[in-house]
Symmetry: C2
Amino acid sequence: MRYSSTHKEEVREKLLATSQAIAKAGGFSTTGVDALMGAIGLTGGAFYSHFPSKQALFEAVIEREMANSSDMLAGDGSSAPDHVAKRLRGYLSTFHATHPEQGCALPTLGAEISRAQPEVRKAVEACLKKVHDNWAERVEDSDAAWALIAQCVGALMLARSVDSDKTRKEILAANRRFIDEAHSLEHPLQPPSGRQA
Amino acid sequence: MRYSSTHKEEVREKLLATSQAIAKAGGFSTTGVDALMGAIGLTGGAFYSHFPSKQALFEAVIEREMANSSDMLAGDGSSAPDHVAKRLRGYLSTFHATHPEQGCALPTLGAEISRAQPEVRKAVEACLKKVHDNWAERVEDSDAAWALIAQCVGALMLARSVDSDKTRKEILAANRRFIDEAHSLEHPLQPPSGRQA
DNA sequence: GTCTATATCTAGATAGAC
DNA sequence: GTCTATCTAGATATAGAC
């Protein structure tokens, strides 16, 4: 064959990586196959040597996204004691709010996931449960873990839905401060400066 | 003229109402003008007598959605003392999670809002601030109000992103219980039964 | 496996008859 | 104002040459 034995695997890998970023930035359904393939230097026709349909790519993208996020957020046995605080700080950062292509898939693709087939939502559910179960042992209880996840996802949506940088930063900072105040984390998200009324 | 003097206004009203529901259920960009017009018994060509472009309809839909939501959530001077608790209970209900077409626009259209023009996000920002400022006086402080809004929006996204009814209900219930526990609301969301560990 | 060309379909938007 | 017909553009997907 004219291509190396790992060629197909490499193309698939690049396609997935760039598709993830592009979909998170501009939405999956609103981006065409030609654009996704063009981003890795190929034409649209070659797409179907790697995926049977655009829908199949969506499923692969979401599963990779969620697996990635849950691995990172949940951590493992060797995680530092301030692991949760570190992840929360990064999640609720201005950088994350202004760079959706590098961030969590839920705030950007959550609506498309909601309308997707059961298999996709099953994968999302498994990853969410993984983060929840892990965090439930590091915060007050199970309820607090679900509340924390919800607050983070929602805060990012809010921060991206407003226009002014000032309001965006205020929403993120308020959410960080509230977590420090309401949750009994071992380590605070930010220095115990002042919480404003 | 062959149409009543209020005809155009009535059509516009119906178009907006159905477009809001359809967009929240299936996404705005993924729904065509023909489908939106067909839902009120007209054909696609007639659309442009009411809006100059599909984009203009999106702006009108979002502004109406947010104004509606913020009016309902913020309440007014005559609101009952348990107003916030009532709204939170309805927002974090299974009915809301399973009927996006009747619910808040942020969890379903938040991503599309994030990618929209500044004018749209300005309108969203104003409505969010209205709810925040109102709630800030009824909960602990400003931070708690932002955290509450974020938690609600995120909880609904999570509830809709999972597959099983059981997990969906658990996410919603956990978020309701956490609010009762962490926020000093005058009235609880649900009877002080048991909060599970 | 990738390319170009193409088939098919749908989208947003416009033109002209009624 | 609404309709049908149409223009133009873009989408998913397939076919056949290299």
